[in-house]
Symmetry: C2
Subunit: 278 residues, 2 copies
Amino acid sequence: MTVPPQADPPVGPGSRDAQDVAAAAARARVAAKLAAAGSPGSAVPHPEARSVPEATVARLAVYLRALGDVSATGAETVSSEDLSAAAGVNPAKLRKDLSYIGSNGTRGVGYEVSRLIRQIELVLGLTQRHAVALIGVGNLGHALAGYGGFAGRGFPLRALFDVDPDLVGININGILVEHVERIGEVCAGLDVTIGVIATPGAAAQLVCDRLVAAGVRSILNFAPVVLQVPARVEVRKVDLAVELQILSFHVARRGDDQVDPAPPAARNGPAVPAVVRR
Amino acid sequence: MTVPPQADPPVGPGSRDAQDVAAAAARARVAAKLAAAGSPGSAVPHPEARSVPEATVARLAVYLRALGDVSATGAETVSSEDLSAAAGVNPAKLRKDLSYIGSNGTRGVGYEVSRLIRQIELVLGLTQRHAVALIGVGNLGHALAGYGGFAGRGFPLRALFDVDPDLVGININGILVEHVERIGEVCAGLDVTIGVIATPGAAAQLVCDRLVAAGVRSILNFAPVVLQVPARVEVRKVDLAVELQILSFHVARRGDDQVDPAPPAARNGPAVPAVVRR
DNA sequence: GCTACTTTGTGCCTGCGTTCACGAGCGGCT
DNA sequence: AGCCGCTCGTGAACGCAGGCACAAAGTAGC
Ligand SMILES: NC(=O)c1ccc[n+]([C@@H]2O[C@H](COP(=O)([O-])OP(=O)(O)OC[C@H]3O[C@@H](n4cnc5c(N)ncnc54)[C@H](O)[C@@H]3O)[C@@H](O)[C@H]2O)c1
Ligand SMILES: NC(=O)c1ccc[n+]([C@@H]2O[C@H](COP(=O)([O-])OP(=O)(O)OC[C@H]3O[C@@H](n4cnc5c(N)ncnc54)[C@H](O)[C@@H]3O)[C@@H](O)[C@H]2O)c1
C-alpha cells in the first residue's frame, strides 16, 4: 500500500455544508408555487408534483429499495404501513412523501408496486443513466471500482483517474485508469454527470475543481475535506470519521446512562408499536 | 395482505431511520440532568452541556477536523468566523453549536484552539478509545481494514470477522480474521463498542443481531438494508446507492435549466422541476 | 482609567419537517 | 345495490433547526 501524504489541506473559507440535509433543503427549495390559486379541485392537466423536499428525496431512494424487496416477493400492491415498516419510517411520513411526487395509490388497497417504482425512478431521474467518474483508485477507490452496485443501479462507472504512474494505464473491470490531467476531456467526452472523489484529502479540492470545470454537476466526496464549489454543483460527503464520532457520542451518552440494562434476547418480546416511545 | 419482504425478520416495527438527522435528533434529545450551575471559569470534569441536538453533534465532528487544520497552522485561537468558514457553515450556527457544549470562547478574541478541541473530544466521547469490530472482509471490508483513518482518529480496529473459510485465519494489518460465529465472545472480550457491517445485504441483519447480543451499542452499516435493532442501539447507515440517487435527482433537476450563470428569480415562470418529463 | 473595537453568546423569529387525526375514495361482501 | 371496512391523501399542529441582530464581555489603545 502506498502511504500517501496523509494530511489535510489548508482549506478555504466560504463553503457549504453538503452533509446538512436541512440546509440543503432550504437551498434547493425553489419556489414552485403554481399560480393556479383558483379551484381547489384542480382540473389542471398538470399532476406535476410540487417541489420535493430534500429530506423526502433521500427517503425516496430508500423506498425504492424496499419496493424492490416487495417486488421480489411477487406482491403487486403494498400498503403504506407495510412499506413504511420495511423502510423504517412512519407510515404517515411515507404517504406524505409519496404525495409529493403526485403519487397515485389506491384507497382501500395500497400502492401498485411496479407503478410506484417507475414513478420514483422517474422523479429521481433514474430513467436516464448517469455516467460516473471515479478519481483516486487507491484503497477505497479500488473497492468502489470493483463494486457491482454502481452499474447495477443505473450508475455505470465510465472513467477512472489517478496520478500514480503505477496505476495509470491499468484496467479495472474493463475500465482504463486515466491520468488525472485528462479529467476534462474524458469527462466531457463521456458526458459524465457524477464524479466520485476518493483521493487523499489534500488532493480533493484540486480534483473537485477539475470536475467542475469539466461540467460535472454532482460530486460524491469521500475525502475528509469540505469542498468549495459553485452553487450549481451539488456535493454530498461521506465521512467515515464523522459517522464514527457520532456513534461515539451516543455510546458515551448511553454509557453514562447505564452500561448493561438488558443484554441479550428480549428483542421480540415487548411489541413496541411506533418508532419511538420514550 | 401483502407478504412481508423476505429480508426482514419478524421483529415488527420499531425500526429507525439512522440517516435521518432531524428525526434522530428528536429521538436523541434526552434532557440532560445537569442544571448547569456552570461557572464560566473552570471546566469541571462534567462539562456535559445541556442536551446537544443531533445535527450539532454531526457538525462538531466537522469542527474538530477543521480545528485540527487550524492547530496545524500554529494559531492558538480562532474566531467563529474563521472556523465556520473552514467548516463550511454559518458563523452564528457554529457559535450556537459550541454554546451547546458549554463552550467558553473569549469575547473579543475567539476560541482557544486546544481547549476547544479537548472540549469537543470530551463531548463526543473521544477521550475514551472505542474498540471497533468489522464484519465482512470483502471488497469494501478490505479497504476499510486497511484504512489508517480508523486508529488515527481514536477508533482502533480490534477485530475482523467473515464466514469465508479462505478469509478466516488470515491477517490484515496484524489483525486476525475470526469466524463470524465468534462475534459474541470476541467482541465481549475486547469490549467492542462499535460494529461496522460490510457484509452483503442478506447477511447484515443476522450479523447485526449477533453484534447486539454481544453488547455492541453502535453500528455503522454499509449494507443496503434497514436494520432492525432495539431502541438502545444506535445505527448509522452509509448507503452509496442512496447518495448517488440523491445526486441523480439534482442532476435531473438542474439539468433542465441548463447552464444558468445568474440565479435570477426568472425561475418562477417555468414551473416545477420535480417531475421530469422526457 | 476610559473609550472604542472585536467577538462571543443568545433571544427571537421564520420556516421546514414530522406527526396526528380525519375525511375521501375504493373494493369487497352481503 | 348498498353498506362496510380498509387505506390513501392531506390539513393543521407542533417542534426543531437555522439565521439575524444585538447586548454582554473582554481586549487593545490612548
Ligand atoms: N480506505 C477507506 O476505507 C476510507 C474510508 C473513508 C474515507 N476514506 C478517504 O478516502 C480517500 C481515499 O482513501 P484511500 O484509503 O483509498 O487512500 P489511498 O492512498 O489508498 O488512495 C488514494 C489514491 O488517490 C490517488 N491520488 C493522490 N493524489 C491524487 C490526485 N491529485 N489526483 C488523482 N488521484 C490522486 C493516489 O495515487 C491513490 O491511488 C481518503 O481521503 C480517505 O481519507 C478512505
Ligand atoms: N464495495 C463497495 O464499494 C461498496 C460500496 C457501498 C456499499 N457496499 C456494500 O457493502 C457490502 C459489502 O460489499 P463488498 O463489495 O465488500 O462485498 P463482498 O462480497 O466483496 O464482501 C462481502 C464479504 O462478506 C462476507 N460475508 C458474507 N456473509 C457473511 C456473514 N454472514 N457473516 C460475515 N461475513 C459474511 C463474505 O465472505 C465477503 O467476504 C455490501 O452490502 C455492499 O452492498 C459496498
